[in-house]
Symmetry: C2
Subunit: 146 residues, 2 copies
DNA sequence: ATTGCATGTGCAACTTAATTGCACTTATGG
DNA sequence: CCATAAGTGCAATTAAGTTGCACATGCAAT
């Protein structure tokens, strides 16, 4: 297991004390193969822990602020969270199903982007490029809900 | 003024009765050079009209559903709305300032995207590709808020 | 003209996701 | 041990959007 996959290291590398709550939140985000909402994360945690809902929000904010976790917008009302891009985890687009709310990670190669022209001309500070595909996932398409 | 720039035509072409309220909402969205939130749109409208807040939300939903208006997600909590892509209005990315919440339309050429590989392999239905750049706009960068 | 119906709108109440204020707890250095 | 800061819990609040239901308006069939 590499340094980047050890959640305690990920936290301390980001100048964050590795508290039990933080580790647990980060484990859920990191072990999941697709991004989850704060509500999803809390629902999973509360089965085994007595962590407070607000603490989950605060930890997620903190992890986003320190670049450990990525806050991903959806076609819906809640944010989703996934491990932030790093050397072991290339930036990649996501697919959001407008029926079931499930978010998929797409391979970095599935969509190619070039923001060079923007970088040359944009007068503000660019911090993040988010690419999201919206539609209906395989499962929901099968069920035939249009 | 072309057909696509006449808002009453835009509505009837989308099989929507051109009521005063719908025209007014569409005018605000269409005449603006950058996307606005439902709250922004309502704030502008209520100065001169007695339209209800809920009606604004319902009209925006309807316009999105009929492909007249585009619902754009941000790095923040509210959706923004702009004229949907059409032959006079190419799809383009947006910039969202995390400080002031202002959203800019970027030129279609500023970012190039190729989703061909995804289209070949993705098993669900793809309805929309959204590209959003987050960061700090020129004005807010100047003020020096980090 | 009167009725019936569908569409459009207004208003109050509600929901969801997230945030805030403040108190309590835990960890750490002196 | 104490002082302080960091971390957490809980209740209340907010922001954005949604829902239910009543009223209004337009139009077609009688
Ligand atoms: Mn991902
Ligand atoms: Mn635009
Ligand atoms: Zn789905
Ligand atoms: Zn700004």
């Amino acid at each position: 297991m590499c340094d980047q996959c050890n959640y305690e290291n990920l936290l301390s590398n980001a100048d964050l004390v590795a508290t039990t709550n933080r580790i647990q939140v980060l484990e859920i985000v990191g072990n999941n193969t697709f991004p989850l909402s704060a509500g999803d994360i809390y629902a999973i945690l509360e089965r085994t822990s007595s962590i407070n809902r607000v603490t989950v929000y605060r930890i997620l904010d903190l992890l986003v602020e320190h670049g450990v976790v990525d806050r991903i917008s959806t076609g819906g009302r809640a944010f989703y969270y996934g491990i932030a891009p790093n050397e072991h985890h290339k930036p990649h687009p996501h697919f959001y199903c407008r029926i079931c709310g499930q978010m998929d990670c797409l391979s970095p190669e599935s969509v190619t982007v070039d923001i060079a022209p923007l970088l040359k001309t944009y007068p503000g500070r660019i911090e993040k490029v988010e690419i999201r595909i919206d539609g209906i996932c395989k499962n929901c398409a099968k069920v035939g809900k249009k």
